[in-house]
């Protein structure tokens, strides 16, 4: 079962320090989770902390977990996105994830400098990600030689122009950076609409869904899987995680007291109980195939992850890529002979 933790950008601390984020992801790793995701909260006024440099700065924290950051896909240029994540994936040793944000360009059109948002932001986002993936593929995995005696650092036969000409982008390529260690970073898509579901079915390695019951989760998963199959993708190529707010306590009573104090925040599914009760619940969902895991949205990360860390779990594995950890296939390079 896959477990991730999400930190919404709306919760940016008053003093934005690296120490804060280091502590946060160390807590995630100690709790036995697989990845920490920095997700842009919807809305035109949420802080514009850029998740990409944030996860690059967290690459040096000695934990093995994955690190994801939101990217405004309906606004970004493919070359910039490909170049930034080619770097981040190398710097993190293959632990990076792109979290697809399909609404930033619409919600923030005025800030980004558009008089009007792009006429079809979803089509632009699809083409942006497709073009970005071509750029990642423009270097084959064996393009770097470092052949000192032969005098070749790279093998030009393994580096390709992409010559992309589409509706929204014209990009010649190749990228001027080697292919990410994982081939492509893990692509994560929060599903909140028919458009984002369709996007997830085409591209997502990981889809995040927000049902409020187990039955709803089961049918949401089935709907996504059906669309995934419709795109000719194997069902094992996608992991579907359910958003869950854990409100934990050492005892049921303590958890309930916290829940009463916190109240209901947002519409996501809440779980109130002890860490071992949470684990039981997750196993039950897993057993009936309601999802592949959970994306935890902690109300108080140090408290909730501290409690989760008391459960027995396998220690955080270092030296593994995020794709390996999630048992996701490595993308085949379209240019490899």
């Amino acid at each position: 079962m896959i477990l991730t933790a999400s930190f919404p950008s709306a919760d940016t601390p008053p003093a934005i320090t690296l120490a804060h984020y280091r502590a946060l992801i160390t807590g995630v790793a100690h709790a036995g989770l697989d990845a920490a995701l920095f997700v842009r909260s919807p809305g035109p006024a949420t802080p514009m902390l850029d998740g990409a440099p944030l996860i690059a700065a967290l690459a040096s924290v000695p934990v093995g977990i994955g690190l994801g950051a939101s990217v405004p896909l309906d606004h970004t240029e493919p070359f910039h996105l490909a170049r930034a994540f080619a770097a981040i994936d190398r710097l993190t040793g293959g632990r990076s994830a792109v979290i697809v944000d399909l609404t930033a360009g619409v919600e923030r059109a005025a800030q980004f400098g558009h008089v009007a948002p792009p006429d079809d932001p979803d089509a632009r986002a699809v083409e942006c990600l497709e073009t970005t993936a071509k750029l990642w593929d423009s270097w084959e995995d064996d393009a770097i030689l470092v052949d000192r005696p032969g005098g070749l650092f790279t093998n030009p036969d393994r580096i390709h122009r992409i010559n992309h000409e589409g509706m929204y982008f014209t990009v010649r390529g190749p990228l001027n950076a080697p292919r990410p260690l994982q081939g492509w970073p893990v692509i994560i898509v929060p599903v909140a609409s028919a458009e984002s579901r369709s996007f997830a079915a085409q591209f997502a390695d990981v889809a995040l869904i927000a049902p409020t019951t187990r039955d709803a989760a089961q049918s949401a998963c089935a709907a996504i899987r059906e669309q995934v199959a419709g795109h000719g993708r194997r069902l094992q190529a996608i992991r579907i995680l359910v958003d869950l707010v854990p409100i934990l306590g050492a005892t049921t009573a303590e958890a309930q007291r916290r829940a009463d104090a916190i109240g209901q925040h947002g519409s996501a599914l809440q779980f109130v109980g002890t860490p071992s009760q949470l684990r039981t619940m997750m196993r039950e969902w897993d057993a009936v195939g309601a999802c592949d895991g959970f994306n935890l949205l902690p109300h108080d990360p140090p408290v909730d992850f501290g409690l989760l860390a008391t459960l027995p779990h396998t220690p955080d594995a270092a030296g593994m890529t995020l794709r390996d950890r999630l048992r996701l296939p490595r993308p085949v390079n379209r240019y490899a002979a």
């Binding site: 514009m48 770097i144 005098g151």
Partner: protein
């Protein structure tokens, strides 16, 4: 003439080293150039040497020769903002300067990127503002042909105005309507710890110099002689005065590529060893790119066809023009010119002992040629370590270089104040 009292150093990091063939040297860390440990190692050397900053350049197109990637040279730097974020996370004092182009980005996201970097680093971020001279970049953004040069700088000026307004406003909204950009809104972030991340500029053309004098707080340049350096510095100071700026508010940092030895003979031997590693094809390619004229069909031993180059390129950059003059003056062949470019891409190169290096730097400082240097070690990390461990202590003993950092931010290293926010009337 304003004379600085203390030298300032920044490291220009580059995969393998600044000598184009350095990556072939057995001591160069060429296999590691995409790994965090490579950057960590170089960054810790900079901090040991009390440098102001580590600087990462940028390019937005692969290096090609006649439509094919040039395999004989190392890869480009990785994405600068990502590298700078990683470097900031493994250091405590060192400034981090990332290059981003105003020609191929939009101001809102760039303001957000540098605000993020400045917050996370606790006030150590700088932005090298470039307009991108590499024409091929336009093909990666559907914007061929690249804008005409004066327009690039007009866009750059407005771009910087918008970014500064967004930083100054912090969580309050701005409303900008200009020729290139319309931006209404706010970053929703507190003002960055430095008020504004430090602005670095390296334009060499007349509009480039004017832009540097108007916004630059550190300026990179590439003079090879002291008179050239003095003239450039005096010109920038005069242009600054015309904008109402004082000369102490900028650090002018010529590029400087050292190869050090414990004796002159040892240093020279090292340079020859590196020069012999330059592939002849690379020399011809570098000359063709730099002079914007294809030389591939000529023999490497042919003289540089200066008249043809000029006829084909009436608006050659001042730096390339000066280099072409030198080729004529010294009757250089294409191969010889290629070796000069291979050594340090026309930045000043230096071969000698730590003592003679200290003499040289002291002269440039006290004669008003510079406020410090942008260091381009021939290869990494060995030449960087040599400079830090052998040359820096001599400069410290002579009282022209700091023994320790005076403060925690890049502005404090550069002796720059936090700028007052300029806020539009509400």
């Amino acid at each position: 003439m304003y004379i600085g009292q203390q030298l300032h150093f920044g490291l220009f990091i580059y995969p393998g080293g600044h000598h184009i063939a350095a990556w072939r040297h057995p001591d160069a860390a060429s296999e590691q150039v995409t790994e965090l440990d490579y950057f960590r190692r170089c960054a810790l050397a900079c901090e040991r040497g009390k440098f102001d900053s580590l600087f990462v350049g940028d390019a937005l197109a692969a290096r090609e020769s006649r439509g094919r990637v040039v395999g004989e040279v190392a890869i480009n730097n990785l994405d600068p903002v990502s590298v700078c974020a990683a470097v900031a996370s493994v250091t405590e004092h060192l400034g981090v300067v990332a290059t981003l182009s105003t020609s191929f980005h939009e101001p809102f996201l760039i303001a957000a990127k540098f605000a993020t970097l400045d917050h996370l680093s606790g006030g150590r971020a700088g932005w090298n503002v470039v307009t991108t001279s590499q024409d091929q970049a336009a093909a990666n953004f559907g914007r061929e042909p690249h804008m005409e040069k004066s327009l690039r700088y007009e866009r750059a000026q407005e771009f910087v105005d918008v970014v500064r307004a967004l930083w100054d406003a912090g969580e309050r909204p701005i409303a900008h309507r200009g020729r290139f950009f319309q931006v209404e809104g706010s970053l929703g972030l507190p003002r960055p710890p430095q008020g504004r991340p430090v602005l670095v500029q390296a334009g060499g053309s007349p509009p480039g110099r004017a832009f540097a004098a108007s916004i630059g707080e550190a300026i990179f340049t590439a003079p090879t002689t002291l008179p050239e350096a003095q003239a450039f510095r005096a010109d920038i100071h005069a242009l600054m005065a015309a904008c109402g700026r004082r000369p102490e508010t900028v650090k002018i940092l010529p590029g400087f590529s050292p190869i050090l030895g414990s004796t002159m003979a040892e240093a020279q031997r090292k340079e020859v060893e590196l020069d012999e590693l330059v592939h002849p094809r690379v020399g011809t390619w570098m000359m063709s790119e730099y002079l914007k004229f294809p030389l591939y069909d000529l023999s490497p031993d042919a003289p540089v066809p200066a008249a043809d180059v000029r006829a084909a390129n009436p608006d050659l950059s001042p730096a390339a023009g000066a280099f072409l003059d030198r080729c004529v003056r010294e009757a250089l062949t294409i191969a010889h010119g290629g070796r000069i470019l291979a050594r340090s891409r026309t930045h000043q190169s230096f071969v000698g002992t730590p003592e003679t290096l200290a003499d040289h730097m002291q002269t440039w400082l006290t004669q008003g040629g510079c406020d410090g240097f942008n260091l381009l070690p021939a290869w990494f990390p060995a030449e960087l370590d040599l400079f830090v461990d052998e040359a820096v202590p001599i400069l410290q003993r002579r009282g022209i270089y700091r023994h320790d950092y005076a403060g925690p931010t890049l502005r404090s290293h550069l002796g720059l104040a936090v700028p007052e926010p300029v806020l539009a009337a509400a």
